[in-house]
């Protein structure tokens, strides 16, 4: 009997438990509802466009941030962006941006074998996930697209640069032509350049060499190219006076070009047999090892004249002070603003900034070269006028004018 009660009791318990178990789903449902409430709102107003002014393989995705980003449930941590070449997927993650951001630039690789390759002229589809602190709780947007990316043949963001280059080119052409027609163009005297001939004469009288330093720039630097022109002039005079010239270089390409320049100058002076290739030589590409070598040459050879023309950095004062110790006449010229004061302090003559570029026109006195110099002056005047108008425009909030010169990359 007792057993029968026990069995019935167990059955009742089982039955009750099964009833309880059956009542469980609503509880589960309520949990699902709770977690659904945790899901953030999806992003809206998504737009995908080809990135303009580029080589292709890139798309710009923009969207209105989720209602739960910075408001609502305020639980969006970041947005994750996915893309696919098919509407049905599979979608690959291409990046993430923090909450509050409404734009993503999907810049792909142009190499087909690269995992990040994004093909041109192919339909691309995008999805954006609003992701919470728990990465599993996220809301995916609708599939967007198709969009196709492609490269452009003209960068419209650089129109202001093109206009400026064209105006400057036309100004140069105008002044070169008018100089050719015989119009006299005045160039103010440049002390540093005028001193070169005297300095070479001094070296000849003293029987000491001339040291020419082209600086630390590469052959692609305009300052170095301007320096080649002055070196040509110095080398020609040196060849005429039969003085020794030493040109230690920092860059092997600069060395090759400088050798050619000096060689041509010796030819022009009618003394090709006096040219020694080793007078222009390579030292090192380490900045201060170069300084040590050049300073060593100065103190051993005691040059009568040291010429520093080109790009100079922290070594400028070390060179110029050592030259001063060696008792040399020193002429310098650089477009490195920070080094100009050092040269002014320690050298006898200094070409400041653009004077270095003007040197070739000044030396040659050719109408073509003087014409381009005049164009620079007019361009400078235009800059000053535009700066004044820009100042007024910015103060009177006339932004149409200030944005006219904006270069967009």
């Amino acid at each position: 009997m007792k057993h029968r009660f026990l069995i019935v009791g167990l059955l009742l318990l089982f039955g009750l438990s099964s009833v309880w178990a059956q009542t469980e789903p609503p509880v589960v449902d309520s949990m699902v509802v709770d977690s659904t409430e945790l899901f953030p709102a999806a992003v809206s107003d998504v737009q995908v466009v080809d990135k303009p002014n580029d080589h292709g393989h890139a798309v710009i995705v923009t969207w209105e941030t989720s209602a739960d980003d910075g408001g609502g449930k305020n639980n969006v941590l970041r947005y994750e962006i996915f893309y696919s070449t098919s509407f049905d997927g599979p979608f690959d993650s291409v990046g993430a941006v923090p909450a509050g951001t409404g734009e993503f630039r999907h810049i792909g690789s142009k190499e087909p074998l690269d995992s990040a390759f994004v093909p041109d002229y192919t339909d691309l589809f995008y999805q954006i996930d609003a992701v919470t602190a728990d990465p599993t709780i996220r809301t995916t947007s609708d599939v967007l697209g198709p969009v196709q990316c492609s490269g452009q043949w003209f960068n419209t963001g650089r129109i202001p640069v093109l206009v400026a280059v064209l105006i400057f080119g036309l100004l140069t052409a105008f002044f070169v032509l008018s100089a050719k027609r015989g119009k006299k163009l005045y160039v103010r005297p440049i002390g540093g350049i005028e001193a070169v001939d005297d300095a070479i004469g001094r070296a000849t009288e003293m029987g000491r060499p001339i040291l020419y330093v082209l600086g630390l720039g590469s052959a692609a630097d305009v300052a170095t190219i301007a320096s080649f022109t002055i070196l040509g002039r110095v080398a020609k005079r040196v060849a005429e006076y039969q003085t020794e010239l030493i040109v230690p270089t920092y860059d092997p390409i600069v060395m090759s070009v400088a050798q050619e320049v000096v060689k041509s100058s010796y030819f022009d002076a009618g003394r090709p047999e006096d040219f020694k290739e080793d007078c222009v030589h390579f030292v090192t590409q380490s900045q201060f090892a170069y300084v040590a070598a050049v300073n060593g040459i100065m103190l051993r050879e005691l040059p009568a004249t040291c010429v520093y023309m080109g790009k100079f950095f922290a070594e400028s004062l070390l060179l110029a002070e050592t030259g001063s110790l060696a008792g040399s006449i020193q002429i310098s010229g650089t477009d490195e603003i920070a080094q100009i004061p050092f040269f002014i302090v320690a050298c006898d003559y200094t070409l400041i900034g653009e004077e270095l570029y003007a040197a070739s026109a000044y030396l040659g006195r050719e109408p073509k070269l003087l014409g381009s110099l005049k164009a620079q002056d007019w361009a400078k005047a235009a800059f000053v006028a535009l700066a004044i108008v820009g100042l007024l425009a910015a103060n009177f909030e006339w932004f149409e004018f200030t944005t006219l010169f904006q270069v967009i990359d």
Binding site: L162, F228, I253, F282, A289, I352, G353
Partner: protein, 271 residues
Amino acid sequence: MRRQIPFGLVFIFGIFMVFQFFVPHEKSEWVYEFLLDWIIVIGIFALALGIWSLFKVSVEKIKQGKEGGNYSYITLVGLYMMVAFGFTQQTGEGWGLYFLWIMLCSACIVSLMRLRASTDSGKKRMWALASVGFLVAAVLVAIFDDAWAFFLYTPEGLENSMFEIFFDHIMMPILATMFSLLAFYIASAAYRAFRARNVLASLLLLAALLVMSRFNPVIPGAEYVANASNWLMNVPNLAAQRAIVIGIGLGIVGTALKIILGIERGYMGRG
């Protein structure tokens, strides 16, 4: 004709570079990258020319018996040693005959330098024999010594402890010393240059003192001095620098234009 071809090339590539700046298309980019690769290739060949020039000048110094000519040996042996360290690394625990190999190669370089510097034919023969002898010995050591190996295509050589020791304990202190000399030269130049000779020089002196004193807590009213020096740096200094920068910028564009159009030819040796 010898000069016309280079000028033609300068014009074509110069115009292309201007064109490329405004054309972002992949095809223009391809040509651009191709040209950049060529610059690197030319640079490597030029570096070889540079090292050859350094060798010739060093030998010439020895030949002429110039003061400090013996340093030329150190220059070239040092150059060789750093290259050798960068391409070799030990394969086991010890270094075996590695240092003997370094010494033999160094001796070979010295012999070659003496060979080129000698004018007497007897001495020339002697140095030629010596350099061949050292070279053969060095090759034999390299072949039969397994304690170290060459790594020409892989970067094991960068882990060579000799390379690190030479860099950290020789190169770094020497270069740091050279740079630190600047502090002394600046002090001496400032002492000689900053004299209140006239109104402008006095203003320059005042500005220099203010900028040097900024953030200097020893000076009374340090915060005012800091503010004044910042104003000097950010307003008058900036304005003057911008003016020079605009002038330089225009000068660069003007010179570049002259080079592309062949108006400026001085860099080709027509000064």
